[in-house]
């Protein structure tokens, strides 16, 4: 039995290659310590340019007015809301990986949680922009916060889902940041302790990382409090991550619009968010592991596990689609029935079928081990997942609105160039932030990776 156990443990190493702790530190910190190469600069300048387009387009739209966009009556919610939900959804994988997989003791999360959390924060930041500009008058956005004010007795309407969003998203962003930063503290100390103060640049780096690492000395007393904190933060983030996209789904589901008002929306949005989040994590990490030579840390096994989560959540999303369809028929409500037939065969049939084929059909390819262990194919499929999930929100927002209860107010929704500029621009913002991240912060949690390593000669430690 012991032999079988040993054999099995050898089959599943989370870190490949015969690595010592020192190798781990060096490998992971390498991108932070070296000057970026040409490839990074090209990618960064492209991303920054697109980010610039984003900001310019937003400035023009805010300055001119929302009339520049494709929204109309009855389609009052357009790309801004679609992008908002899309990015918030992507921003679920990080917390899911770091909190939910932590609570369920999935050790493979240690290699991917850092970059997934970073991705979460950047995605939520991208998402956060949209409701602010969607209101049209950006300069009054602080009215959403409850504070005693000079406008008389005026408070936000706490019975409005949009106000819940303000609280949910800002809480989520704060806690994700705190969780991420707390995890970074020991790793900042690792960077700090490797810096030789040889010149002015290194001196500056030393002081920056000294401040960031908060004077961490890795003491057991500190680790004890630290681990208790991590467990509690994970426990708090678990319901939080469920609540955030549920509250986003309330924006739709509390209404009486056919196709929006359905009780499965909260868990269905959460599952979709996990699905899209893992899709984006795959997109980013497959590139990152190649460029930074992290193949020994983010192994095929990690990719395969992520593919499995993607497959499971994709299938569940498919089940949710079918549930909605079935219930639309079962409800006996002609409006509900029409809304769903219209999604499938109405003027936006193409969006619907893109959604179904990318989200439900493509992930089924992951049933084949040869596909889910092939990084190139995985990457291609992850792109389809990203596309599909954007279209899911497009279908939800547009198809339900463009056919009103009154046929006289029916209309079509056509995106303008400004819509496209801001949609594409938000990717520029996202990638700019992510490219900066991988050069300044350790992209893999060094301390956590060391915990799950099997070190030779060490007994009675780790898991």
């Amino acid at each position: 039995m012991a032999a079988a156990e040993a054999k099995e443990l050898q089959q599943l190493p989370l870190v490949l290659g015969d690595k010592k702790y020192d190798n781990v530190t060096r490998d992971i910190i390498a991108p932070v310590e070296t000057f970026p190469k040409k490839l990074w600069w090209i990618a960064f300048s492209v991303a920054l340019t697109v980010f610039g387009v984003h900001m310019t387009a937003i400035a023009v739209v805010v300055g001119t007015g929302l009339g520049l966009l494709g929204i109309n009556n009855p389609v009052g919610w357009g790309t801004f809301i679609i992008n908002f939900v899309f990015w918030i959804g992507i921003g679920h994988a990080g917390t899911l990986i770091s909190a939910v997989l932590y609570v369920f003791r999935q050790q493979w999360r240690t290699a991917i949680n850092r970059s997934a959390e970073a991705m979460t924060i950047f995605a939520v930041a991208c998402a956060g922009i949209f409701p602010n500009i969607h209101v049209g008058r950006l300069w009054f956005i602080f009215w959403a916060m409850p504070y005693p004010n000079e406008r008389g007795v005026l408070w936000p309407n706490f019975r409005s889902p949009l106000v819940w969003d303000v609280f949910a998203i800002s809480t989520y962003l704060t806690i994700s940041l705190v969780f991420w930063y707390a995890g970074l503290v020991p790793d900042f100390a690792s960077i700090r302790d490797r810096i030789k103060e040889s010149d002015a640049v290194q001196k500056i780096r030393k002081s920056v990382y000294s401040v960031l690492s908060l004077g961490w000395v890795g003491s057991t007393r500190a680790w004890a409090h630290y681990e208790a904190m991590a467990m509690i933060l994970a426990g708090l983030s678990f319901p939080l991550v469920l609540s955030v996209h549920s509250i986003v789904s309330f924006d739709f589901a509390t209404s009486v619009i056919p196709g929006w008002h359905t009780t499965i929306f909260p868990p269905y949005f959460v599952i979709g968010a996990i699905f899209s989040g893992f899709g984006m994590v795959l997109t980013l990490l497959i590139i990152m592991r190649e460029v930074f030579h992290f193949q020994d840390y983010i192994t095929i096994k990690h990719l395969e596990n992520m593919a499995k989560v993607t497959m499971l959540t994709g299938s569940l999303v498919g089940l949710a689609y079918s549930t909605e369809f079935f219930m639309a028929w079962y409800s006996g409500s002609p409006f509900e029935g029409f809304a769903f037939i219209n999604r499938m065969f109405g003027p936006y049939w193409w969006a619907y079928w893109i959604m179904v084929s990318c989200n439900v059909i493509t992930p089924q390819l992951f049933w084949f081990k040869s596909i889910r262990t092939n990084p190139t194919l995985l990457w291609i499929i992850s792109i389809f997942v990203n596309i599909g999930m954007w279209f899911e929100r497009y279908v939800i927002v547009v198809t339900s609105l463009h056919r009103d209860y009154l046929p006289s107010s029916w209309d079509m929704y056509i995106m303008t160039n400004w819509d496209f500029a801001i949609l594409i621009g938000s990717f520029g913002m996202f990638f700019t932030l992510f490219l900066l991240f991988v050069r300044v912060f350790p992209a893999i949690a060094i301390a956590e990776i060391k915990m799950v390593m099997k070190s030779p000669g060490a007994k009675g430690f780790g898991h």
Binding site: I264, P267, L319, T323, E324, G332
Partner: protein, 394 residues
């Protein structure tokens, strides 16, 4: 009853099984008296008892598949217990048959004349009709019994010496198994409980049906483990760490159940569409309001407030008390889902509910127990067994 710690086998355990079988049969006989007394009340009582026990067995099935899919190691010591808890499923199928004779008492849509006069029911009659209802139930049970059977046998095959293919088989069964399980359970929830009120609909109802079962199975595992340990079974293998973990899961799924229940209630309350809110309005009249409050406070607030404490989760005695309480609450939840359709003015609790629950329960426990003692009580050859025994929480 004797337990051999070397082979992990229980011998001479048949007596308990026989007692349970007799208890079950007596319960069912009493319920049959209830059938003679008040036919409608009997069928609702029987449905409540049936869905209550079925969801526990389904929770067990889900739990087993989840552990295989996530390659959990901590749960290996309790795996055989949970696998055996799926054993009552074929018997529950047998116990489902009486419900087919009560369709007219239970389900409005089974009356052809009512359907003919109601446009909405007429539109759904392709789905809600006795024939299709029966076919679907057969399909559900075929799927569940099949999954339970194959998972159990793949697991006991491992006992005579672990080979990698054993684990592989359990895992490859679990992945598609999970998906068809979700589909069948969702539809079962709609069929058996949601269609009691055929005009009402809620897309999340299947998830609600399932989440309660998952909650109840965790409590059931705690009860079984605690009772076994009192009789000296697995006292060394299952430690306070396992109780702690089960307690954490029970706590977590208290929140999950609340999340699902709240989503359903909240969205229907907020949108305030008459055909949806009436389901909750029915549970808001007379003494039903009190039961609704019991669900809110007893199914969520109390277990949440108690299970949050580490000390409770690490005390087998306290956790067992909580587990019994949770199972009772799970029953109340099913009572609350089924009975307002019959007793529109308020609660009319009777002994028939108890008789039916004990009746099906006796058969359930008997089926579990005979399966459980037929093999080693833990997967003796699982390569993760040692790891599981020595498992420690952080």
């Amino acid at each position: 009853m004797k337990f051999d710690p070397a082979t992990y086998k229980i011998t001479d355990g048949g007596k308990f099984g026989r007692i349970m079988l007799v208890t079950g049969l007596i319960g069912l006989a009493l319920a049959a008296v209830g059938f003679a007394v008040d036919r409608e009340h009997f069928f609702f009582a029987y449905l409540t008892a049936f869905t209550f026990w079925v969801t526990i067995a389904l929770g067990a099935l889900f739990f087993v598949m989840l552990q295989h899919l996530t390659s959990s190691t901590w749960s290996v010591v309790i795996r055989r217990i949970v696998e055996s808890l799926t054993a009552p499923l074929p018997w529950l199928f047998l116990l489902f048959i009486p419900l087919l004779f009560g369709l007219h008492q239970l389900y409005e849509w089974s009356h052809a004349d009512v359907v003919a006069a109601d446009a909405v029911l007429k539109a759904k009659s392709g789905f809600l009709n006795p024939t299709f209802f029966t076919i679907r139930a057969v399909v559900y049970f075929a799927v569940w019994c099949g999954l339970a059977h194959f998972l159990y046998h793949a697991s006991v095959a491992q006992d005579s010496g672990h080979r990698e293919e054993h684990r592989k088989r359990m895992r490859t069964l679990s992945a598609p198994g999970m998906i068809i399980f979700v589909i069948t359970t969702t539809f079962a929830g709609w069929d058996w409980l949601m269609s009691l009120d055929p005009h009402w609909y809620s897309t999340i109802f299947g998830v609600y049906f399932f989440s309660g079962g998952l909650w109840a199975i965790l409590a059931t595992i705690v009860i079984v483990v605690a009772l076994l340990q009192r009789r000296g079974v697995l006292t060394k293998e299952i430690t306070v760490e396992h109780y702690h973990d089960l307690g954490k899961l029970l706590f977590g799924f208290t929140i999950f159940w609340t999340y699902i229940g709240f989503s359903q209630y909240f969205l229907q309350w907020y949108a305030n569409i008459p055909e949806e809110t009436k389901w909750y309005l029915n549970r808001w009249v007379g003494s039903w309001k009190a039961v609704s409050m019991v669900i809110l406070w007893g199914h969520f607030v109390l277990p949440f407030g108690i299970l949050i404490f580490r000390g409770v989760k690490r005390s087998p005695r306290l956790l067992m008390i909580m587990a019994v309480y949770c199972v009772v609450m799970h029953w109340v939840d099913h009572y609350w889902m089924a009975f307002p359709t019959l007793n529109k003015d308020g609660v009319h609790f009777s002994w028939i509910e108890i008789a039916a629950t004990v009746g099906i329960g006796g058969i359930f426990v008997w089926a579990f127990w005979t399966k459980f003692i037929s093999r080693a009580v833990i997967p003796v050859a699982d390569p993760h067994l040692n790891e599981s025994i020595n498992f420690r929480n952080m």
